[in-house]
Symmetry: C5
Subunit: 97 residues, 5 copies
Amino acid sequence: MLLAKVIGNVWSTKKKDAISALRLLVIQPLGKNLKPDGNVLVAADEVGAGFGELVIVTQGSPAMQAFNKTDLIPVDAVVVGIVDNLEIADDVAGKKK
Amino acid sequence: MLLAKVIGNVWSTKKKDAISALRLLVIQPLGKNLKPDGNVLVAADEVGAGFGELVIVTQGSPAMQAFNKTDLIPVDAVVVGIVDNLEIADDVAGKKK
Amino acid sequence: MLLAKVIGNVWSTKKKDAISALRLLVIQPLGKNLKPDGNVLVAADEVGAGFGELVIVTQGSPAMQAFNKTDLIPVDAVVVGIVDNLEIADDVAGKKK
Amino acid sequence: MLLAKVIGNVWSTKKKDAISALRLLVIQPLGKNLKPDGNVLVAADEVGAGFGELVIVTQGSPAMQAFNKTDLIPVDAVVVGIVDNLEIADDVAGKKK
Amino acid sequence: MLLAKVIGNVWSTKKKDAISALRLLVIQPLGKNLKPDGNVLVAADEVGAGFGELVIVTQGSPAMQAFNKTDLIPVDAVVVGIVDNLEIADDVAGKKK
């Protein structure tokens, strides 16, 4: 899963019915050394995440399993958890290079 | 899902029958700080998106769920929504770095 | 889907039986501003594409749906269309930056 | 699969029930020449990996097959093995360039 | 599929049972102009590939179809072919730029 920061909301009225009930967040994934990196993504929120929170995001086909499993919906990114605490071992993270 | 801008159309006469009825758009994904970044993609349009519009694009296996679910088609990117409004929190987006 | 240029052929005699009948092309995806970018890929050809042609390539799990749907084969990239015409709106493509 | 180093742990209390029992590790994938590269990821641990260990990580839809196969969970990265030994042929790895 | 060079082997004793019988190779994908690029990957070998050989690698969900189709295993990269010959058209590959 990605670690990402919630950086915004996105509103869409013309959209596929299957995703009309979803709350859509704009997230910025974290790259090497936990700095923002990579494409901004739109993720469905399933845990009530808010602006600025660090979240765990499941992508791809597994993202669909966070919703109705018998009628899959076209969603490829979903927030599955809000990070309470992140413990990173500096010495093995390559930060010193 | 990706945030992307619709930048064109693509026409193809020699193509797989399964995708012959699709309207194919050329889109440019938005990367960090919402600047165009990453490979240009071809996405099937399911919401009537037009040139220059900002759209939400589902990729990979979930994209197929936007179409006939009992006879899946070889499509890996689909426009599932047109963005009306995008609210980005500058202070958490890392734009100031 | 990717936009890509057919840049070659690849021959393999020692390969999985399931893919032995496929015609394998070497393709170069097009990135931002339609310039060659990203990893060269091997894609199965389903539309009779030739050297130098611009093609539409479906990746990942959806690629398998271009073949036998009851006995899926280990193929993750397939040429699903040959591009006849590509209409790109310069003013929204970010080319002027 | 990715080669990655375990660089930390992540705790989340507000998360989807389906993933509540998982031990979540923060991993840093290794890129070219086995140097840390690419986005930091969160992966479920299925083999008891610890800080600083080099691990093998399965991503995407296949990651779900490491868990209950009849009730798939929204997980897209899982540690499937701990590396005991890695034998790299320098002359073919492009390290000399 | 990726074009990649086999650059090593990886041994793991603590791993998921489902992948215990697999021979795992370390591969370096080839990027633009066929130069090594992108993350080193671990791929299961299904064709008897050896050090330094150029191979075709299927990724993601399709990789699972190279194995038991009724009891899918958590593998996201598999060598499906050894390249005998690669014919690249220089003039269309963008090598001259």
